[in-house]
Structure formats: structure tokens, C-alpha cells
């Protein structure tokens, strides 16, 4: 059975549906991922009890939705999608919201008061310009952390564990540094725009 790929095991489970012993294919397949899903859930939650519950739910969901697995994709990627979505949704439903860092994103230093410079980024063109700015300004870890935290709404503690960040304050430090860099870049960007209009 070891020589069979993940996708082969799914195919066998499907073609032999209703036959005695058919569950051995799917059990073999799931056992290959027990450790990975367990580690994933542990990193997401930080405690093994919750992680075990999440992992159990993930395999149950995978089992029930196996019909939706397309044969051309990798089973690992499909299971990853289920795992990520389930963990994100569960954490949201438990009202574990992403922590906010205390630093405001951008300070309008010239006005002497805290004003979000992001208010000028309402259109898609500006957003695209900001993405280019991000690519040029932030380091790779900062980009990942910001994306996972603000786009995926994954908590900073979970991101720290998921990415295996070993610095003292984990993902939070990357958010703080990313905000500072973005603030400075935005100021320069706005200054250039102002000069262009003059």
C-alpha cells in the first residue's frame, strides 16, 4: 500500500465503494496526514486539546467531502485548503480576533496629529501602487505576516507558530516594523504626489 500515491488511494476508495475493506484505503491515506494535520492544528491553536478537536473535524470534513476532490489536484493541497479554512473559521467563530498592535499604521507628522494616510488609498489604482510599494519596502517575512494577519485574519500567535518565528515577540514584531516602514514610505509617496500636482 505504501507504493500507492495519495491520489491512487482516493481512486481506489471511490472505485471500490461498498466493497468490504474499502475503508482501509482511506484510513491509510488519512494516516499519512495525521502528523501534518496535528502539527498544523497545534500551531493554529497553541493547545493540544483544541488542536485534537480541530484535527478530528478536519478529517471528518475531508471524509464527507471526498467527492469534491478533483483527481488532477494534489490531495495534500486539497486537504490543506480544508485545514486552513476550517481552522480560520473556527477561530473566528470562537471570537478570537486578530490582535491589534498599538502603533497606528501611519502618522501624519507634518500636521502634528495622527491621521491615517490610508484614506488616500480608496481606489484600486492606489491600492495597486501600495502593493508595489510593499514589495519594494517590506522584507519577505513582514509581507507574509501582514498578509496572513490582515487578509486571512489569522492571529499573531498562530502566525508565529505556523511560520516558526523564533524572535522574542514573534509575528507582532514584524507587524510593528512593517507598519513603520509603510508609514515612512507612504509619507514619501504622498510628498511625491503633492509635488507632482504643483
Amino acid at each position: 500500500m505504501q507504493e500507492l500515491s495519495d491520489e491512487d488511494l482516493v481512486a481506489k476508495f471511490r472505485t471500490e465503494a461498498g466493497s468490504p475493506g474499502v475503508e482501509t484505503w482511506i484510513n491509510e491515506l488519512f494516516q499519512r496526514y495525521h502528523t501534518r494535520v496535528a502539527a498544523w492544528c497545534l500551531r493554529f491553536t497553541g493547545d493540544r486539546e483544541s488542536a485534537a478537536d480541530l484535527a478530528q473535524d478536519i478529517f471528518l470534513k475531508a471524509y464527507r467531502n471526498l467527492d469534491s476532490f478533483r483527481g488532477d489536484a494534489k490531495f495534500s493541497t486539497w486537504l490543506f485548503s480544508i485545514s486552513r479554512n476550517h481552522c480560520v473559521n473556527e477561530m473566528k467563530s470562537r471570537s478570537i480576533r486578530p490582535e491589534e498592535t498599538s502603533d497606528p499604521l501611519v502618522l501624519d507628522l507634518t500636521a502634528g496629529k495622527a491621521v491615517s494616510a490610508l484614506q488616500s488609498l480608496e481606489n484600486e489604482e492606489s491600492l495597486e501602487s501600495m502593493r508595489v510599494l510593499i514589495e519594494a519596502t517590506l522584507d519577505e517575512t513582514e509581507k507574509k505576516v501582514m498578509s496572513l494577519h490582515y487578509a486571512e485574519e489569522i492571529t499573531l500567535d498562530s502566525i508565529t507558530r505556523l511560520l516558526g518565528l523564533t524572535n522574542a515577540s514573534g509575528a507582532k514584531a514584524y507587524v510593528v516594523s512593517a507598519k513603520r516602514k509603510l508609514g515612512a514610505s507612504l509619507q514619501r509617496w504622498k510628498a511625491r504626489e503633492s509635488r507632482g500636482k504643483m
Binding site: R36, A38, K74, K144, L148, A151
Partner: protein, 244 residues
């Protein structure tokens, strides 16, 4: 930071119109959608922090490397997962149902098991008359049969106090075990006789009062001590107008 900023940051770091789901992105980058598609996907990922973050997570997931401090907890979770697999292997008796040729055998086996179970239950039921503790059992060798002992009486509402219990003979019976008990199964009296009737003793007579239901039953026993037949519980009572 305001919610507004959070919304903007979500837009900046979130997926763009060019981003695709991770399973499709994975196929594109693997070249399974063709070289041209692969080249385009690579170009997109190079400038998309969101997709790179997704890929980073996928790589973390696919990596089976467990960090040393996680090992104990991961082992514990895995042990729980193995215990509760969603696709539980079928036990041998469930498998028999899935093999068409064996299904009739399984049905027969199941029927036999049910019959044995019922027999055992009847033998060991605490409220069952003639249990060994009641002193009315013959001990080992009892076999339940489908035969019944036909009772003559007393049965139902009576105008007069009964003097005896009477039943019809059972072929092969060497003796009869009789038991009288209250409706809550509390035994009042029991005895073994060779005849097909037995006089009610004073201890039972004293309990026969108007509108009070008493129950009785009789078992036919053969020479080896096996139960040939059982009457099942019968009941009687004196009606309200009966004379004492």
C-alpha cells in the same frame, strides 16, 4: 488602528483579481496546466505577497517536519486521531453482511444468537419465577421449550375464594412446580407436586381478599429436571361482591 485602516490593509494584502485558489495555483506552478500558464503564474506570484504567503503556509503544511517542542503534543493528537478514524474498519460480523453469499448465513446466525439471548434473559431475569434463589428451580439442565401448561383455574374475577390451583397434564412431566406471587412479583408461596392440582395453603388464603389480584404459574418438569412447559403468569382475584 481604526477599522477603516484594517479594511484598507485587508484590501492591500488580500487576494487580487489575478489571484487563484491555492489548489489551482499549485497546479499552475507545477506546470500541469502547461508551460505558458506556469510562466504567468510564476510572474504573478513574484509580485503578489498574498499568494506567496499562501504558498508559504502550504509548504509548512506539507512539510512533515515537527519541531522538537511540538513532538509530545503532536504524538498525543495523532494517538487520538487513530482512535477515532472517520472511516472505521468494519468488524467481522458487519463484513459478513456485505458479502452476498454470506448474508443468509449471517441472518441465521443472528436469529440463533437472538434466540439464545432471549433464553438466557428468561433464565436470569430477577423477576422470573422459579429462579434458583426462589427455591423452585431444579438446578442445572433446564431447557426452555415452546410448550405451555394449560391452566384450568382459578383465572380472572372470582365470586368465591378458590381452594386449589388446577392445570392440565403435560406429557412427559414427572412433577409440577407451582408458585403464587403478588403483582409486584413478590413470592407468597411455592411448591412441587406430582399431581395436576394443589391446595392453596393458609398463607395464600390469607392474602386472597376482594379486589386484590394474585398471580400464579406452573412449570412441568421431566424426570431429568428439565422444564418441559411453562404456563406463564395467570391471575385471579375475588370480586367486590364475593363472600369471605
Amino acid at each position: 488602528m481604526s477599522n477603516y485602516d484594517g479594511k484598507i490593509l485587508n484590501s492591500i494584502f488580500g487576494p487580487t483579481a489575478d489571484c487563484v485558489a491555492i489548489d489551482e495555483l499549485s497546479l499552475l506552478l507545477d506546470g500541469r496546466r502547461g508551460e505558458e500558464q506556469k510562466r504567468r503564474a510564476e510572474a504573478h506570484v513574484e509580485g503578489c505577497a498574498h499568494c506567496r504567503a499562501e504558498i508559504a503556509l502550504l509548504q509548512e503544511f506539507e512539510s512533515s517536519a515537527i519541531r522538537p517542542h511540538e513532538q509530545r503534543d503532536v504524538n498525543w493528537i495523532v494517538a487520538r486521531l487513530r482512535k477515532n478514524q472517520p472511516a472505521q474498519p468494519l468488524s467481522w460480523w458487519k463484513r459478513m453482511w456485505t458479502v452476498p453469499m454470506l448474508a443468509p448465513i449471517t441472518i441465521g446466525l443472528a436469529t440463533a444468537l437472538i434466540a439464545i439471548g432471549i433464553g438466557l434473559e428468561m433464565r436470569h431475569s430477577p423477576g422470573q419465577p422459579f429462579s434458583p434463589s426462589s427455591g423452585g428451580s431444579s438446578g442445572s439442565g433446564e431447557v426452555m421449550r415452546s410448550l405451555s401448561v394449560d391452566v384450568v383455574g382459578p383465572i380472572g374475577d372470582l365470586a368465591q375464594r378458590p381452594a386449589e390451583l388446577r392445570w392440565k397434564p403435560v406429557a412427559g412431566a414427572s412433577r409440577y412446580m407451582v408458585r403464587v406471587f403478588e403483582v409486584d412479583r413478590t413470592e407468597l408461596w411455592s411448591t412441587t407436586v406430582k399431581e395436576t392440582s394443589v391446595a392453596l395453603p393458609s398463607v395464600v388464603q390469607a392474602k386472597i381478599v376482594p379486589l386484590k389480584t394474585l398471580m400464579w404459574e406452573v412449570r412441568a418438569i421431566d424426570a431429568s429436571g428439565s422444564v418441559l412447559a411453562n404456563s406463564g403468569p395467570e391471575s385471579f382475584r375475588l370480586d367486590a361482591t364475593s363472600s369471605r
